[in-house]
Amino acid sequence: MTERPHLAVVGAGPAGLAAALAAAARGVRVTLVDAAGQAGGQFYRQPAAALGARRPKALHHQWRTWERLRDGLDRQRSAGRIEHLTDHHVWCVERLTGDGTFGVHALRGPAQEEGVTVRADAVLLATGGYERVLPFPGWTLPGVVTAGGAQAMLKGGLVLPGRTAVVAGTGPLLLPVAAGLAAAGARVAALVESAGPAALLRRAPALAGQPGKLAEGAGYATRLLRHGVRTLARHTVVAAHGTERLTAVTVAALDGAGRVRPGASRRVRCDTLAVGHGMLPHTDLAETLGCTLSGTAVRVDAEQRTDVPGVWAAGEATGVGGAGLALAEGHIAGRSAAARLRGTAPDPRGWAAAARSRTRLREFAAALDAVYAPPPGWAERVPDDTVVCRCEEVTAGEVRGAVDRLGAADLRTVKLLSRAGMGWCQGRMCAPGVAGLTGCPLTAGRRPFARPVPLGVLAALPESD
């Protein structure tokens, strides 16, 4: 067959697509593996073709960029330089001890029951991130969805999640979600953001370097205005109400220190609450490969290499910063991997423009991160009877008891002593909440299986690797 070196890219979002295109254009055979049915990732999530989307453009920014990536992918696929494996859920990437190549183990089929392994000379992890949602009374009611979940429903299925929505939490993602819901015909009763407008101003220097981003924000704001959406800055949702499903939320005003101002709360009727508190990187695959993390993100060098030979990472997996940053990092990673796989040292001058925007966008992301931190007092406001871990139905009181009464001091022992994080999602959902409630540092949980794997698939792995 072919003599060209083979790169496996996990994740077909902006980062993975940019990486795959950059590498394929430089003589590398690429297999792009993604869990979704179509390319695009979180940002360019595609309405399923069959639904005959009316005006997907109205829901998308940077539509041009997306078209360029999509056309590039089509070209490289027809040329046989990229193979795109859709609906492939990677549960583990293994570095083979013999020759230092890799086995990318995935599940496919309607029920994800069939095991497949892709062999490659190098891997590039572009697995993106997932949403952080912090618990509050009522957050498990039907009708409460994550902000990203609401967005995905809009972009992917074009199903309107409810008629009257509140969008709440913190972070820049709330704006496009509120705008998207409004544009799709929902009444958005309020956008509730815990950060204050003054905090944004204090970050002016870093933000000022971002005309494009600010314009994007301003565009959303204008659209919200046009749809009559009320924005409540320095407010928070303290409780969701309803018996069978959501009927209302209580919104409270926060003081300058992020504490609830006594007496300053009101009830807002709604049947949908889209809530999010920012994003966290997906690092399971990287961790199992032995890549060092910094904080909760995969650590990379200037070429986007991890500290495990043959493993690159790009996009949200290496730190949260938006689609533009993911594109820049993916491009650099793809070029670096291509050069290294051909046995040459890459010339960073070739990607100088991408490197500049990477620097700029990372500064911007750091500035946003400081602005959009969850309000300091949130954890104390969670009553003991609020369920924190949905999978195992563990309450805030039980989680606190693991520390106060039983001697836990990190997330792992809190899990062992309370079962919070032991269920189906393996703590992806509740770990940030548990960390906040207990004061334990939020560390990336060790999850050797990025997806639940049928035992039959494990048993059928090749005997000697």
Binding site: C92, F449, L455, L458
Partner: protein, 386 residues
């Protein structure tokens, strides 16, 4: 000139064994403090399983300790049962071939003479006990004394019940000794604790702790992986494992040996474990190890083929060259007591160990002869204490 004492005993290690030592020492009237560099159950106790087995032990000192412990577990269960998820579910050891069955029956006969209840089960009765067991097994033996706890909860609850002062996040960096060499406490990264007795319950790191007191104790790590499935309605009733497990425990081979114990838990997931490898402290995922666990479990319960594993984790069993723990006073360092090296049975053997340690701390005669567990037993073969 003696410093004021902090307490009567410092237990180093807040794992299962340290917790049991603290409990029984406190109940013997001693003022106890427990120190751990991490949280409670942050060592091997939080990285293993909670089988309390007599079934896998041949007659000898370890079995005697297991039987003593099994009795003590029954008592603890009356006090703490649900809080430690104690389940007296019994074990079922199966053999797939007539040869393996003959070996298993001989093994069981010897165990019976040592006080183990071991009931032969004919091939056609196996499915009465385990309806989902693979067909075609040659037969088995049922062990009603086998039971189960959730190890991390058991350690935490025993510590709580002991009333001992617990210092987590505090590392022992030295063992304080008098001019004559006797123990007078421990040095930690956050101050000294003064006591005339120190219990080494540092598990896999027990050799390092002994070295701080100038004593040699060759504790080594033996890695094990466990697979955990999605929660299921109870379909596996006993602790079920294949008969080659018994040969494996005593094996001296460094290669991977697997014969998984399959069991349902109170919370729903099925646990499959564990592998045994000597690879030092390497925590990285071994797909061959989990492959072997999965294959072994499906061999026993074919329905598991389509069940999903949610996670896998590894721990490092503390073992000594002769596969027996070190329990009792160290004659080389007066005031130092060892309670470590329990390999793959430290949860099960913890109460017995704690009781023996408490007796010796209080100057009373222990229930069992401690000679086989002497901590200095490895000196003679290697020519004396370093």
């Amino acid at each position: 000139m003696t410093k004021r004492l902090t307490c009567d005993v410092v237990v180093v290690g807040a794992g299962m064994v340290g917790a049991a030592c603290a409990l029984y020492a406190a109940r013997a009237g001693l003022d106890v403090r427990v120190v751990d560099r991490g949280p409670v159950a942050g060592g091997t106790t939080g990285a293993g399983e909670g089988n309390l087995l007599v079934s896998d032990k041949e007659p000898g000192p370890e079995l005697e300790l297991a039987l003593l412990s099994a009795r003590l577990w029954t008592g603890l269960a009356e006090e703490l049962g649900p809080a430690i998820e104690y389940e007296p579910k019994g074990g079922l050891v199966v053999a797939s071939t007539p040869g393996a069955l003959a070996a298993l029956r001989d093994f069981a006969a010897a165990q019976r003479t040592a006080g183990v209840t071991a009931q032969p089960v004919e091939a056609d009765r196996l499915r009465d006990l385990e309806p989902h067991l693979a067909p075609g097994m040659a037969g088995g033996v049922r062990y009603p004394q086998d039971a189960q706890v959730m190890p991390a909860l058991a350690a935490a609850q025993l510590l709580r019940a002991s009333g001992a002062v617990l210092h987590t996040g505090r590392t022992v960096t030295g063992v304080l000794r008098t001019a004559r060499g006797a123990v007078r406490g421990v040095r930690t990264d956050r101050g000294d604790l003064h006591a005339p007795a120190v219990v080494n319950a540092a598990g896999t790191w027990g050799g390092d702790l002994a070295a701080l007191a100038g004593a040699r104790l060759p504790v080594l790590p033996r890695r094990g992986f466990v697979l955990v499935t999605e929660p299921l309605p109870r379909r596996v009733r006993h602790k079920v494992y294949a008969a080659d497990y018994v040969a494996d425990v005593a094996s001296d081979s460094a290669a991977l040996r697997t014969s998984p114990v399959v069991e349902g838990t109170a919370a729903g997931p099925v646990l499959i474990g564990a592998t045994r490898e000597r690879v030092g402290f390497d925590r990285s995922l071994s797909l061959p190890a989990v492959r072997a666990l999965a294959a072994g479990a499906i061999g026993l319960f074919p329905f598991l083929e389509r069940v999903r594993a949610l996670r896998t984790y590894a721990g490092f069993r503390p073992y000594l060259p002769d596969h027996l723990p070190a329990i009792g006073p160290d004659p080389r360092v007066p005031g130092l007591f060892h309670a470590c090296g329990h390999e793959g049975a430290g949860i099960g053997l913890a109460p017995g160990t704690g009781r023996l340690i408490a007796r010796t701390l209080a100057g009373e005669a222990p229930e069992l002869d401690l000679t086989p567990f002497r901590p200095e037993r490895f000196d003679t073969e290697k020519g004396g204490t370093p």
